[in-house]
Amino acid sequence: MKLSGWGQFPRIDCHVTAPRTDAEVAAALTKGHAIARGNGRAYGDSAASAQNTVDMRGFNRMIAFDDATGQVVAEAGVLLGDVINAFLPRGWFPPVTPGTKFVTIGGMIAADVHGKNHHKHGTFGAFVDWIDVMGADGTVQRCSPTENADLFAWTMGGMGLTGIILRAAFRLSKVESAWIKQTMIPAANLDAAMDVFEASGEATYSVAWIDCLSAGDALGRSLVMLGEHAPRDTLDLEKRRRPFDIAAKSKRSIPFNAPSFALNSLTVRAFNAAYFYNGQRKAGDSFVDWDSYFYPLDAILGWNRIYGRKGFMQFQCALPLDSSKKGLEALLRATSVAGQGSFLAVLKRFGAQDSRFSFPMEGYTLALDFPVNPETLALMKQLDQITLDHGGRFYLAKDARMTPETLRSADPRVDEFLNMRAAAGRAATFSSAQSERLKL
């Protein structure tokens, strides 16, 4: 079966099994080269193995919920969106969410995902109480910060290379409504945007959309969006009466791959300019429902197809705080000069992060989308180098084309990761197309 990540690049012919029980997972592992796959939302080749892809979507049952602590116990293939549907009406919301709700819990743990509140709350891993991980020999270990703590720590952000995550217990946060009070702040350039971030450390959510084709004094002009869960008594009467109800939205979908000429620097420039001016008009406060606030793109099913059949790649790096400004300027300038506008460019402040192999570090992260073509591949190599020059690192959940050398230059933690992999038969049993490419 041909599999690819969300970017539709690369496409890999994979042998796939879809186990429903622990015993079926154990049986699949005996063939080696196994990698767990969730809902296929990693962008590149993280969750595909030509020899042995283990589709975990059959592990889709919720097991328990504790109304006192907000702890959910669920199988790894449960979708985040299903967790929200089940528990938001009871006043609970995920403490950390990525930009799509179509991810599995197992995938969120393997990539140790972050959200718009990383500067305040860290990654999803910080809210995981325990996980059940199946090792190379088919035995299952319960891992938590106090039990099998090493395996627990490596599995957060371990990209599925420590074993198969079967089940997890994680905490939700109490919320009073399904609404987010959003504050939109236009920023004329990168300096201004960073000033807003630095002044908004107390905001629960913050993220900036960048017009990455702007140049000169306007380089990095942005719309910074801050957000807070709206307390019930701040809502209007209508919403206050049913604080967890939002109107059902019509779903649009992109039914087929757009021709590759549909996205070019002209259309991207036009879109970016329109988005910015539209955003400026909406500056200030508004109430936005959770689905539109956290998952605007989920409303367009299959939006990845706008990039055409050849697919697209995302570049996402994190830069340390003290070199963020210089690094971001260099990255945005290179992108602007190349004229390879990114349809979506997102900037976000990261808080401190203490973890074995997770992506975030204190500083800033920039994410850019590019269609796959020789020019963007060359540009991304340039962006790699700029990131390395500024002491940054890369998000493996987005990567589809990095070299092992780049990864090693960026991340001194690789050696320790390889030691962990060498133990307990992990390297022989668990591997993905990405881990083979990156020699992990």
């Binding site: 879809a18 429903r20 049952r61 919720m62 097991i63």
Partner: protein, 246 residues
């Protein structure tokens, strides 16, 4: 939390049965899951209760033990408002051509058992004067084909049974829905290479079934294309049909 009528799922372990259970539970209906060895469905019960906040009860049910069907319905307590029969086995056509015993098992599991329990429920629903009966039959019952006629013949019988039941109960306040799913991506067909455009996922089937009950539809194909495909297959003259391999 709601006063919606309960929904009985016969064959509550199957992917289709569970998908239908989730669909009705999401609309606030309490669920009764019936299957052999039903206490092993504890995880499914918990999952449905957690996701949808409705009550789920488990009931031992053996479709092939037809003598027990009356007592089974008595044992449910309150008569459910809706009953969905998702009982069935695909079997191995080639093996069943050679082995009468296994062939008869397939026939019984797809026709005799389902018809028996639907018949018992039909009488109770008729007495009450309300309710809906949903039978999951198959496009395989629309015309016997070399590749699966043992399964198909039993489904053909079940389709005819449901059609007659609908005719009988139409004026008695009881609605009967016949579902012909076509290919559905379930455990039953795992490993078969199915054409993507013709294959529904169980969730889609659940949605269609709830809609059919709500809107009083009689016979539904899950993917509309199947209605066309099967109309063509039914209308090929036998002289030609017998030489084909569809």
């Amino acid at each position: 939390m709601s006063n919606k009528g309960s929904v009985l799922i016969l064959g509550g372990r199957s992917d289709i049965g569970l998908a239908v259970a989730h669909q009705f539970a999401a609309s606030g209906h309490p669920i009764l899951l019936a299957a052999r060895n039903s206490q092993s469905l504890e995880a499914e019960k918990k999952d449905i209760e957690l996701r949808h906040g409705v009550n789920v009860s488990l009931h031992d049910f053996d479709a092939l033990d037809t003598a027990s069907h009356g007592a089974f319905v008595d044992g449910l307590g309150d008569l459910p408002e809706i009953a969905v029969c998702a009982v069935g086995v695909l079997g191995d056509q080639f093996e069943n051509e050679q082995n009468t015993e296994t062939a008869i098992e397939v026939m019984r599991a797809n026709y005799e058992g389902p018809a028996s329990i639907m018949g018992v429920l039909a009488n109770r629903f008729e007495e009450r004067g309300s309710g809906a009966l949903v039978g999951i039959s198959s496009v395989a019952g629309d015309r016997g084909r070399a590749s699966n006629y043992i399964y198909g013949s039993a489904k053909a019988g079940f389709t005819a049974f449901l059609s007659g039941l609908r005719n009988r109960l139409a004026k008695r306040g009881v609605h009967v829905v016949t579902v012909k799913p076509g290919f559905v991506a379930t455990k039953m067909v795992e490993g078969l290479d199915l054409p993507e455009k013709l294959t529904a996922d169980p969730k889609e089937l659940g949605e269609k079934i709830e809609a059919a009950v709500t809107r009083g539809k009689n016979v539904i194909y899950v993917k509309p294309i199947w209605a066309i495909v099967m109309m063509i297959i039914r209308n090929i003259p036998e002289m030609i049909f017998k030489k084909t391999s569809i």
